[in-house]
């Protein structure tokens, strides 16, 4: 008979893994590492929805507003995330264009879709494919950080291209929104508790 720690009246610390007797509704801390103890993350579903929706809202200005402006004596151009990918593609480095496209567009969108799917499947009490859904969760946890890529690209282009008045570059207003999307999706992922998938499948 498969028994979960919660059913046995135990709590596993999410930081160090130590099993403690469940404190019930009281707030308590892990005796070994001092992390807050909760059988399941508190308000996991609500928090994850809130952060994911906030990320989806920030995603719109992040893609519509420019993230980088470069001026030379002859010209000036502003690039959004997508037009930056297009520039990389036309300048002949299609593998890099593909990497940036995956990191900046597909990973954030894929993450939001995956989180919505996980949240809905828990809500509907789905029992199918719990193992695959846990894997999907671990995957978005692992690859989410890669969408920070474009923030770093802009940082280092701006740091180097400062030859006023010959050539200069500035970050665009889209950059903070894009960084917000990355941070909010990362926080949304950590506030989702994968054990809820198995609780829902068990009932």
């Amino acid at each position: 008979m498969a028994l979960s720690a919660a059913e046995a009246g135990l709590v596993a610390c999410q930081s160090c893994g130590l099993l403690s007797r469940s404190p019930g509704e009281q707030l308590s801390r892990c005796p070994r590492c001092g992390a807050g103890l909760a059988s399941r993350q508190r308000y996991s579903i609500q928090r994850t929805w809130a952060l994911a929706i906030a990320a989806a809202i920030c995603y719109v200005p992040a893609n519509l507003l420019p993230v980088l402006t470069t001026q030379t004596l002859a010209s000036s151009r502003s690039d959004t995330i997508l037009s930056g990918v297009a520039v990389l593609y036309t300048s002949g480095s299609w593998p890099l264009a593909l990497i940036v496209l995956v990191a900046s567009v597909m990973i954030p969108l894929g993450k939001l879709a995956a989180l919505a799917y996980l949240l809905l499947s828990v809500r509907l009490g789905s029992a199918n494919g719990a193992r695959d859904r846990t894997r999907l969760y671990r995957m978005i946890e692992l690859i989410g950080r890669w969408s920070m890529l474009d923030v770093f690209v802009v940082t280092f282009v701006v740091a180097l291209i400062q030859f006023q008045p010959l050539m200069a570059s500035q970050p665009g207003p889209g950059l903070p929104f894009f960084a917000a999307v990355v941070i909010l999706t990362m926080l949304a992922t950590t506030s989702f508790d994968p054990r809820l998938i198995w609780d829902a499948a068990h009932d």
Binding site: S15, L88, R131, R145, T155, A179, W198
Partner: protein, 197 residues
Amino acid sequence: MTACPGCDLLQRLPTLPGGGRARCPRCGDTLAIEPGEGSLQRALALAAAAAIVFIIGNTTSLMGLSVVGRHASTTILGGAYELWLQGFQVTAALVALACVVAPAAYLSILLALLWMSTRSPVPKWGGRLMRHASFMLGWSMPEVMLLGILVALIKIAALATVVPGVGLYAMGVLVILLAAIKLTFDPRQIWQRLAWH
């Protein structure tokens, strides 16, 4: 007894061969990596090397470029500082956290704990440190930064001549060392040596 972090299933860990890995039979999450012979010493050596390379990578130039006789170069913090100067303070702080603060905190805590654990039981406050180390590891992104610098290099190469600096190679080595630590070191080795009762 242990509870799976992925699905909360209670189970007993089997005895594993050195370098073996235990996975939850229900959800497939990794439960434990069994350390091989001398793994703490190896992790300590890797962490010390990573700390040295990290210091080199942060104090030397990442890349330099020249345009009609004028030269410019940047470090990692220099990049974040330029962003700050241009009025993007929050984004600059985030870049500094992900590239400098989080990896530095993670590496120094890991070094201290590994060094303590090779001699005596780790004191109780070591547990709190280990918890903060895991948190910092989540926000440290040197590998993403390295790829970002590479893309920036290609973008700039269209406008000027770029020369990669010592710092860039150091960051490359750092990424490899951090991956090696992740593969061989299991935080459970620290938790088991902790005197917390």
